[in-house]
């Protein structure tokens, strides 16, 4: 079966969503990712959607679901590389992704994730790193 690859980058997981995902593939990704967060003890998930030409409410819901599940598993989610035309369209569609952070690209996303995790560690009274 066709699958979207999930790469491990240190404490983070990186998912690069390819062009035009069909619905079953999106559902599989959601399941695979939840499993990997647990297995790899990941603290963060980066979802690179720079190759997505559209985001409709189905894909939006999938991203939202991933973020909520990640949070339950104590991991942060950052969506990176959303195209401007996609962002404009999402607003008009009425889709907001509460609790999902966004960053311009993977590098900025990693920075953001590191910041979030450090903050959390400090709040919990642990030394970050």
């Amino acid at each position: 079966m066709e699958r979207i690859p999930i790469l491990k980058m240190g404490n983070f997981l990186l998912v690069t969503v390819q062009v035009d995902m069909h619905d079953r593939l999106a559902m599989t990704l959601q399941d695979d990712l939840t499993g990997r967060i647990v297995k790899d003890h990941a603290h963060g998930v980066l979802i690179d959607i720079s190759s997505l030409e559209i985001v409709d409410s189905f894909i939006g819901r999938m991203i939202g679901n991933i973020a909520s599940m990640a949070r339950v598993l104590d991991a942060e989610t950052v969506v990176v590389g959303m195209r401007p035309a996609v962002a404009i369209t999402l607003v008009e569609l009425g889709l907001s992704l509460p609790g999902v952070r966004t960053a311009l690209n993977v590098d900025k996303g990693v920075e953001l994730l590191k910041g979030c995790i450090e903050q959390r560690a400090t709040a919990n009274g642990h030394v970050a790193g």
């Binding site: 035009d20 069909h22 619905d23 079953r24 030409e53 559209i54 985001v55 409709d56 409410s57 189905f58 939006g60 819901r61 195209r83 035309a85 996609v86 404009i88 369209t89 008009e92 569609l93 009425g94 889709l95």
Partner: protein
């Protein structure tokens, strides 16, 4: 109004939804839509194709490239013989869903296009027409 091109595509599987998105993109490009306009009509098409499949138990879409004076547009008409929609006003509200969706397909696609028309009869089926103009 002149019709420059006119074709019908089936909507029977989730791969057909991908196909509808691709064809809508091609036709919007052919009509020289801007990138944002392309994205809006393709997103609306994706939402409505999914409704046809999920709620209408499958159906078809008619795609037309149209021209009215200097205005060029893409029109899509989604038709199914599914269960129909008992309360259209409700179905068109943001957040209303009888499934597990976000309830933004109808209301959201209406905002993404210039023309929107929906006809539905319980037990007979549903037809949704959208058009976006350049």
């Amino acid at each position: 109004m002149a019709t420059l091109r006119d074709e019908i595509f089936p909507i029977r599987s989730s791969d057909d939804i991908v196909k509808v998105r691709q064809v809508t993109r091609e036709w919007a490009l052919m009509q020289t839509f801007s990138l944002v306009d392309q994205t809006k009509i393709v997103t609306a098409a994706s939402e409505l194709a999914r409704n046809t499949l999920e709620y209408g138990r499958g159906g078809e879409v008619r795609i037309q490239a149209v021209q009215e004076g200097p205005r060029r547009g893409v029109r899509l008409t989604f038709t199914d013989q599914g269960p129909g929609i008992p309360d259209l006003a409700k179905a068109l509200q943001d957040g209303f869903t009888t499934g597990s969706g976000m309830g933004l397909g109808l209301s959201g696609s209406k905002r993404l296009v210039n023309d929107f028309d929906i006809q539905s009869e319980v037990g007979k089926g549903t037809t949704v027409m959208i058009a976006r103009w350049k």
